[in-house]
């Protein structure tokens, strides 16, 4: 999955008499009837990076939120330097030296980097912006976290925002830093830089917890690996003694996982999407076609024009005339005539925003794109919609298995299954799937892959992904996009294709003979 090579410093060994700075002793946490964490014991050491590996919903974030003082454990306790702590707020945890970088950044967008770092730091009543900036700049330099202290947070990239979060913790002199899926929002280059910063912090004696479900990252980064499964510590693993990734994956999900999927190429049918010389919206003369029965992957580092292409194909932005043809019809004609089924389905990257309404239940969310199928005159047949939704919930095994569950209550994987179920229910002829497995665990990823392969029977799929493995596993052709141009379209039957994608993604064009 990750294409980057890391040059990590050698792992340090724990001295026999070294005491852990944090001891988690028999912690149990329940939410209603669900046991999120069950009798967990775990030690953290200064200068070491512990990876907490587990599927979505395994209880990783819950466990660390208790350490960070956001939740109180129902049973058990946490010791820091041998003293039992009882945090009732994140403030107390911060004071005890524990800081957490959440998946959703806790940053005030309109304020500057320095203001965010120093927010709530009791000091003088009066503040001096230039002095604040200097303080933050000094700290940033010490840990190699490159960010302009006077920039407004809203103008920063995701990677920079993350650095601000880290600076906040460092400024508070946190000794234990917890990172909740930090690489989910980063580009590969930013990931490398983050890892380098993490090693630097560990070198300076910080204890680091890295929550992830990405095996490669965990293996290349961590000094220790703790596998969490269904709220229980499944095992502590030394990354140097791991036989194979598949072995680690097995222990994480508790069953054999197919990280690879069998794909039988189908014979391609008629062209369902034809993009001809599309320019503007960050694109530059893009040509691309998708036929029924095939999956075409659009691969590239995020921000190279994928958004413009997806939005114009899906009808969110108006492309220039005669540049997009869907099902043989010009763009405008297609969207004028398109009905709710046998048309275009869009599986957006933003599951809890563009794809679903967070406070609406499953039936309403299914109706979002299928309502035209449930109208009788001016009325909506909610009973039939509810029955159909129930069918989808069971067919796709969308947990918690109730049609009354609200979108935000679903885990990422289940929400994605719900979106996919809805979109496939429309029996589309073209599917645009944008990062369909981002942030999903292995079993959910496999499920999504399987559905996408199945749907080729009736549709063509445009798969927009940053995950090379996903592109290689699923697609018949891979188009590599760089700065708005398709630099190459590769056939995945060719075994050497994987090696050719990397340079293309980095903008290195192949010579004509290749």
């Amino acid at each position: 999955m990750s294409t980057c090579e890391f040059s990590r410093p050698p792992r340090k060994s724990v001295a026999q008499d070294e005491r852990p700075i944090v001891e988690i002793c028999g912690i149990t946490k329940r939410f209603g009837k669900v046991v999120a964490n069950n009798d967990i014991h775990l030690d953290l050491y200064a200068g070491r990076i512990l990876a907490l590996l587990g599927e979505n919903g395994a209880g990783k974030s819950t466990l660390m939120s208790m350490l960070a003082g956001r939740y109180k454990p129902d049973e058990g306790h946490i010791k820091i330097d041998g003293n039992t702590m009882d945090f009732s707020s994140s403030r107390e945890a911060i004071e005890a030296g524990i800081g957490m970088v959440y998946q959703h950044f806790m940053l005030v967008e309109s304020m500057t980097v320095a203001e965010n770092v120093l927010l709530g730091q009791t000091g003088n009543f009066f503040v001096n912006p230039s002095e604040m900036a200097t303080r933050v700049a000094t700290l940033a330099e010490q840990y190699g976290l490159d960010v302009d202290p006077e920039a407004r947070v809203c103008d920063l990239s995701m990677g920079e925002k993350q650095r601000v979060e880290i600076l906040k913790l460092l400024y508070r002199e946190s000794r234990i830093l917890i990172f909740d899926e930090p690489t989910a929002v980063l580009t590969p280059e930013e990931t490398v830089r983050l890892f380098e910063a993490l090693w630097k912090m560990a070198e300076q004696g910080k204890s680091i917890v890295f929550i992830s479900h990405k095996l490669e990252e965990v293996l290349s980064l961590a000094d220790d690996i703790a596998i969490l499964r269904r709220g229980i510590i499944e095992g502590l693993v030394d990354p140097d003694c791991i036989e194979s990734k598949a072995d680690l994956a097995c222990r994480m999900v508790g069953k054999e996982v197919i990280l690879e999927i069998d794909r039988e190429p189908l014979s391609a049918g008629k062209t369902v999407l034809d993009v001809r010389n599309l320019s503007g919206m960050g694109l530059d003369g893009v040509n691309l076609s998708v036929r029924q029965g095939e999956i075409v992957a659009l691969v590239g580092v995020a921000g190279n024009g994928q958004k413009g292409l997806v939005e114009s194909v899906c009808g969110l932005r108006k492309p220039p005339q005669d540049s997009i043809f869907i099902g043989g019809k010009p763009w405008r004609k297609f969207f004028e005539e398109a009905s709710w089924r046998r048309a275009l389905s869009y599986v957006p990257e933003d599951r809890l925003g563009l794809a679903t309404l967070r406070d609406c239940d499953m039936v309403e969310n299914v109706l979002l794109t299928t309502r035209k199928g449930f109208v009788i005159g001016p009325w909506l047949d909610k009973k039939r919609a509810s029955n159909e939704t129930n069918g989808l919930v069971h067919k796709f095994d969308i947990r918690p298995g109730s049609t009354q569950a609200l979108a935000w209550q679903l885990s990422g994987g289940n929400l994605q299954k719900a979106v996919l179920a809805r979109e496939l229910y429309r029996e589309p002829m073209l599917i645009v799937a944008e990062q369909p497995t981002q942030g999903l665990d292995i079993s959910a990823t496999e499920e999504v892959w399987r559905r996408l392969l199945e749907v080729r029977e009736m549709a063509g799929v445009l798969l927009v992904t940053g995950d090379l493995n996903e592109a290689l596993q699923l697609s018949d052709r891979i188009a590599v996009i760089y700065r708005g141009r398709i630099l190459g379209e590769l056939d995945t039957k060719d075994k050497a294709v994987a090696d050719r994608i990397g340079p293309l993604m980095a903008g290195i064009e192949e010579t004509a003979s290749a």
């Binding site: 005030v108 927010l119 709530g120 009791t122 009543f125 503040v127």
Partner: protein, 305 residues
């Protein structure tokens, strides 16, 4: 020409002052993330409280202070409903306007027609001798001089103090403020209370310096103008000064025009400031550069868990 312009501008500052105070009060409230549509009610109620205090004690300064306290108390009602009881901010604010106007009419009846000494215009030594500027800005009453300091303090508070930064963070992203160890609930109460106090000072100005006389309907829609001006001002105190004096100018101008016996119907002249409100809002939406609207404005802080 000078004889015409200077009195008009002088009156502009005077009629702009209550609007300025109310606008800054509402801006303070909104910087903390709470929308208070009760400005009109607070303005009216605090005008009465200030008048009654001034009338009974004979101390205009005490009256001025009590106007602020009355504004603070009434704003706190809104604070409790929205911050602690998680009520809808729009509904609560509208209810507060109705409550404030009703209470004022009810409690103020015995005072109708009475007058109080209040604040008189007094030239500020040295400053008033500056040509033109002195005549416009420094031949005013003491409250106007106080009001010159408030936008500066407001700016300083948000740009140069840690408390101001904390209030901004609460209005932008309460969860982030909480994660930084701040107490967003308390900070919101602070912003609502201080905002109410400032609006109350605006009310006090109306009865103690603008009219010296108690009558019904003293607030006269200035509260609504203040709400609109906050948007026009992009939540920045400098633009609030500009906006408040602009409206003060229109109000002063239409009064003068009415007095001059023009044949334009007075109802049209009276509607002028409100028409300008709409125009100003359209313009500010049109030429939107970068508004400092607090991102969490109007949303309540849901308890965790």
């Amino acid at each position: 020409m000078q004889e015409l312009i200077i009195p008009l501008l002088n009156a502009t500052v005077q009629s702009g002052t209550p609007i300025l105070l109310a606008t800054l009060g509402e801006m303070m409230t909104e910087k903390g993330g709470v929308l208070n549509l009760g400005v009109e009610g607070i303005l009216s109620f605090s005008a009465l409280a200030a008048f009654v205090t001034g009338y009974t004690t004979g101390s205009p300064w005490l009256g001025f202070f009590m106007g602020g306290i009355a504004g603070l108390l009434l704003a706190m009602v809104h604070g409790v409903v929205c911050i602690s009881c998680l009520g809808n901010q729009v509904v609560s604010g509208l209810a507060l306007t109705i409550l404030g106007l009703g209470l004022t009419r009810f409690l103020g009846t015995p005072y109708i027609g009475l007058t109080t000494a209040g604040f008189e215009k007094a030239a500020l030594p040295f400053f008033s001798s500056i040509p033109f500027v002195g005549d416009v800005f420094f031949r005013q009453d003491a409250l106007v001089y106080v009001s010159y300091l408030i936008p500066i303090l407001f700016w300083f508070f948000f740009r140069r103090t840690s408390l101001g930064m904390s209030v901004t963070a609460t209005g932008e992203y309460p969860a982030a403020a909480a994660a930084a160890g701040l107490k967003p609930i308390l900070l919101r109460y602070f912003a609502v209370g201080l905002g109410g106090f400032l609006i109350g000072l605006g009310g006090a100005y109306l009865s103690l310096a603008y009219t010296h006389l108690w009558t019904n309907g003293l607030s006269g829609g200035r509260g609504w103008i203040a709400v609109a001006l906050v948007i026009f001002a992009f939540w920045r105190p400098g633009r609030a000064v500009l906006g408040a004096y602009l409206f003060g100018g229109v109000m002063a101008f239409q009064l003068r025009l009415q007095a001059s016996g023009t044949n334009v119907p007075s109802s049209i002249l009276l509607a002028l400031p409100y028409a300008l409100t709409i125009v100003a809002l359209i313009l500010s939406a049109w030429k939107r550069k970068r508004s400092d609207m607090p991102a969490a404005l109007g949303t309540n802080i849901e308890p965790e868990g």
